[in-house]
């Protein structure tokens, strides 16, 4: 004997093309929702991962704006004020400090708002980037330089070639190439530590100090001692994370609204499609009521159709997200201010479940109005309608 599900499925197959388009519409919405959920999960995890990769529990910088500090830590923005190598020494001698490493970075500002960001590198700072792969050698002399591979390709340069630093007009010999990391590291240039200091007339100065602690339970103690040094500010990794998240919030709001709009549009698509199919079947629905269908039978039939559509769309959307994850990553990286290293999208069973539930709810909500309209049709009027 025939069942409601069969009747609903057969009806959806009757208008294959429309059904397909509606499913695609929902798939887009649910795919965006799913990717967004995966992103929310993945972002924090990879942010923490990235902060761990900094290889420090805490940073000391010259007193300044905390946003700048975060930008600096994450991706090498520039603070004009320096700390001294004496500060590095003092910090390293503080109780509970396991090690303190001075970092140096600065930028050469060029006309038209462009700039070259220069990092000073030594064995300690290289140790903070264990995932780097360098072709050639690190440095062969004080005027050697490491360029990111992508930049070198753009400039048509290779290992052994001369790189004339714009703005400074000083020649460097390329000793190594940094293989593509997919992060902001691909946009900077790297010279020996002392060379960098000299380049910016900052001998004996550092831009920040990476601090490793012996006992993480005594963070506050170290923060207090670091901040007792004149004009020095301590930033813990949890502060960095919090600041990054604050900076993220506007990007997050934008992504939120894109997702909401996409889901609403797909809900309207389902509603429109089901409404059309109800209107087209006015006479059939009238006949069904004449042969004994109650209002709730008709609601069930229409609702089953919209739930099938939206669940199918949900499944297609989720599969699409899996298939296009790398594209979505690139897209999101372009939208947000801080893209940490590693996978931005974390897919798990929970995300899948939430997305499927959302498509179910979407189907129920979008199907409600057409279902009620159909149920309210009077059998006589429906049969008679032209």
């Amino acid at each position: 004997m025939i069942k409601f599900l069969q009747v609903a499925l057969k009806n959806l197959f009757r208008r294959r093309f429309r059904t397909l388009l509606t499913i695609l519409g929902i798939a887009i919405g649910i795919s965006m929702l799913f990717s967004f959920l995966a992103f929310s999960q993945g972002y924090e995890a990879s942010m923490r991962g990235e902060l761990n990769k900094i290889g420090a529990h805490m940073l000391a910088i010259a007193k300044g704006c905390p946003y700048e500090a975060t930008a600096l830590i994450m991706h090498g923005g520039v603070i004009e004020d320096f700390l001294t190598t004496d500060d590095v020494l003092r910090v390293s001698e503080m109780p509970n400090v396991q090690s303190a490493v001075g970092n140096f970075m600065n930028q050469v500002v060029l006309p038209h708002g462009k700039s070259v960001v220069v990092f000073g590198m030594n064995e300690y700072t290289f140790a903070q980037k264990p995932w780097w792969v360098i072709r050639g050698e690190r440095f062969t002399g004080e005027n050697s330089i490491i360029l990111p591979e992508t930049m070198a390709t753009e400039l048509g340069l290779n290992i052994g070639d001369v790189y004339r630093m714009p703005g400074k007009e000083i020649d460097f010999v390329i000793s190594g190439l940094l293989e593509k990391t997919g992060t902001q590291d691909d946009k900077f240039v790297y010279v020996p530590f002392a060379t960098a200091q000299r380049l910016f007339n900052a001998e004996g100065k550092v831009t920040s100090i990476s601090i490793l602690l012996e006992d993480l339970g005594r963070v506050q103690e170290v923060v207090d001692s670091v901040e007792s040094l004149p004009d020095v500010q301590a930033i813990t990794m949890s502060q960095v994370l919090a600041t990054a998240q604050t900076l993220m919030s506007s990007a997050q709001a934008m992504i939120n609204s894109i997702v909401i709009i996409a889901v609403v549009i797909s809900a309207l698509g389902v509603m429109n499609s089901i409404l059309m199919s109800v209107f087209e079947r006015t006479k059939e629905i009238g006949m069904m009521k004449a042969v004994g269908a109650t209002g709730s039978d008709i609601i069930a039939l229409v609702w089953i159709e919209s739930v099938i559509l939206s669940l199918a769309g949900g499944v297609v959307g989720i599969l699409t997200s899996f298939a296009t994850a790398s594209f979505i990553e690139t897209f999101i990286r372009g939208l947000i201010p801080f893209a940490p290293l590693g996978e931005l999208l974390a897919f798990d069973a929970n995300t899948v479940a939430i997305s499927l539930m959302s498509s179910l709810v979407l189907g129920l909500v979008a199907g409600a109005y057409p279902a009620i309209r159909a149920a309210e049709l009077s059998p006589m009027e429906a049969i008679r309608s032209e």
Binding site: M1, I2, M287, K289, V291, G292, A293, D297, P379, M380
Partner: protein, 219 residues
């Protein structure tokens, strides 16, 4: 035994500020087992009368006893059950679901009446379409489609078969086949009400009820 007793049944519609009396003072008694034709020109009120008899519509005035039970004033949710238990419908345009096979179409009313038993085999045999049971409606002739519709109307063992211009979309040969089917059903004791403006069809009936201008003029 009187299966249907209507007294002074009336139906008014509002059209703008005007009230249209589609049916007035219709009093009619139909005995179980009758084959009756409701005839009249369009606008005579015969369709309105049939909708009231079929419990598809509610009267504005008067009383309607179906199998001894007062139907006037019932809500749609009650009327559904009354229709399911008492009335089988056959429409001029067949109204088969194009996506379902012949057998599924015959069984469709059971979708809404899960306690009902399928006797589709028996009914398909009766209407002579057993060999077409797995076909879709689009593969059938008009006459075959109407016979499927008749089988569907009978699945819940109704007391009355209401047929609205059942041959209106059929050629004369198919019309005769369908009318022959109605005659068979009548001989088996089913009460049948035909609504038609075709006097040839009306001649098949043992009784003709004429309507004009919303009133019964001959019964």
């Amino acid at each position: 035994m009187s299966l249907i007793v209507t007294s002074k049944l009336g139906k008014n519609y509002r059209r703008g500020s005007e009230t249209v009396h589609a049916l007035e003072d219709a009093s009619l008694t139909i005995k179980a087992g009758e084959l009756l034709a409701l005839v009249g020109p369009s606008g005579s009120g015969k369709t309105t009368f049939m909708n009231l008899l079929g419990c598809l519509d509610t009267p504005s005035s008067g009383s309607y006893l179906l199998n001894g039970q007062e139907v006037a004033g019932r809500k749609e949710s009650e009327l559904v059950k009354i229709r399911q238990q008492n009335i089988g419908f056959v429409f001029q345009q067949f109204f088969l679901l194009p996506t379902l096979t012949v057998q599924e179409n015959v069984e469709l009313p059971l979708l809404f009446n899960p306690s009902g038993k399928s006797r589709a085999n028996e009914l398909l045999e009766l209407v002579g379409l057993t060999h077409r049971r797995h076909h879709l409606p689009k593969e059938l002739s008009g006459g075959e489609m109407q016979r499927v519709a008749v089988a569907r109307a009978l699945i819940n063992r109704p007391k009355i078969l209401l047929a609205d211009e059942p041959t209106g979309n059929l050629d004369s040969k198919n019309s005769e086949k369908v009318m022959a089917l109605f005659n068979d059903l009548h001989k088996q004791g089913l009460t049948i009400v035909l609504v038609t403006h075709n006097m040839e069809i009306a001649k098949h009936s043992q009784r003709v009820v004429r309507l004009a201008d919303g009133r019964i003029i001959e019964s």
